[in-house]
Symmetry: C2
Subunit: 212 residues, 2 copies
DNA sequence: CCCAATCTGCCACGACCGTTGTACTTTAGC
DNA sequence: GCTAAAGTACAACGGTCGTGGCAGATTGGG
């Protein structure tokens, strides 16, 4: 049974997400989280065993929420495996980026986890990966494989194709915007996504008639 | 004029690079760096103004070294713009990954900078970007443009093409290996690179004759 | 309304760590 | 070999912060 009042607990989780996302684990202070939540520091220790426990509770909660959101986006945009791929893949990337902005705090925490992967217990890292990224990747892989079966895509390994798609769109945006730290003009965002999807579909090898 | 003896200064820089890379900025202690360098903590404050100053000195030094290494790799592997691209791009990616392993501490520090981009003075971030990534990207962009002029590649925007190449190879490896935290079997490394280069060249759109 | 759980404010302990002062020893160059 | 710069060992200050204790206020269910 969880300790304390659920309302307070939810407020603490939300506030901790904001503070951890903004300041990072090390910089984030229990006092700051308590103030943000409108709660006394003592109450935080009523609900959680300490800073580590609070952090992992926040991450597991937001991980599930984000994974749900992203899998829904995938299902919505790639529901028709016979549809022309360019338009759907561009639209999906746009919404994906929007989700990253909406859950910016979550992704900031995840980046910290990845950076400190060496200092994080391997078991926690593994369970996080299973409930989050692996779930989303499986959904995306599944849809790309369906598109391949329809002849919409030419895919040898659907999982690698999913990786490549995300790298050329989402990761490209992340790199250009310093993971959201530097805001990107909407036009540039669109340009990165469309050129990324074009590269994903067509590649950079000269066409046969070009070499003439 | 730099303070202190150059030998000690070099030892401090090297040790600080190792400790910062291994433990991260926050976790890294001046005492640990001093011990690693075989130097008293007081000597560190003789050479540098403090932890921040030491960190930025380490980063600027290794940034120049890494940028040199990578631009040399680019020049060596893409020296012939008329050569078949697949082989050269795969070989370059392999050596690039090897360089990332060799300078693992540097890249660990860079990742920290990127994560904490919000908390780093914008001027320092900008000069770092100019002397490091921007230099390397310019070199790679230049070579891809040359290949495009030779008809080896079909490129609209050489800089985006350079990004896409790195995303599909280097970034793919980084993501799979948690930035080097989880060692990757050599076979998997090769598979990621070759499939990445194949995607870069050929994309995923069905060939005309496939749709028959 | 009452009681038990919960929450609050405040204080304090203890650990960690960056930084500095000081007195002493070592090193390098003239 | 002398001298000034550089390095060392050690202790201490100061700040931050996680954590817990405690007494009293508050809250919500029976």
């Amino acid at each position: 049974m969880r300790r304390g009042r659920p309302g307070k607990r939810a407020a603490i989780l939300a506030a901790a997400g904001r503070v951890f996302g903004r300041d990072g684990y090390a910089r984030a202070g229990i006092d700051a989280i308590a103030a943000e939540a409108g709660v006394s520091t003592r109450t935080i220790y009523h609900h959680f065993d300490g800073k580590d426990d609070l952090f992992s509770a926040v991450v597991t909660a937001s991980t599930a929420q984000v994974a749900d959101t992203l899998t829904e986006l995938i299902a919505a945009h790639l529901n028709d495996p016979a549809a022309p791929p360019h338009r759907a893949l561009v639209a999906l990337a746009h919404d994906w980026i929007a989700a990253q902005a909406e859950f910016a705090d979550h992704f900031a925490m995840v980046r910290q986890i990845n950076i400190e992967a060496t200092h994080v217990p391997a078991a926690a890292l593994h369970t996080w990966h299973e409930t989050g990224p692996a779930r989303v990747m499986a959904a995306l892989t599944n849809r790309l494989a369906a598109m391949a079966r329809q002849g919409t895509l030419r895919v040898f390994d659907a999982e690698r194709a999913a990786s490549h798609y995300l790298l050329l769109t989402v990761a490209a945006i992340d790199a250009a915007s310093y993971h959201g730290a530097v805001p990107l003009p909407a036009a540039e965002t669109t340009a990165i996504i469309t050129t990324g999807v074009t590269a994903f579909l067509d590649g950079y090898r000269p066409r046969a008639q070009d070499t003439a």
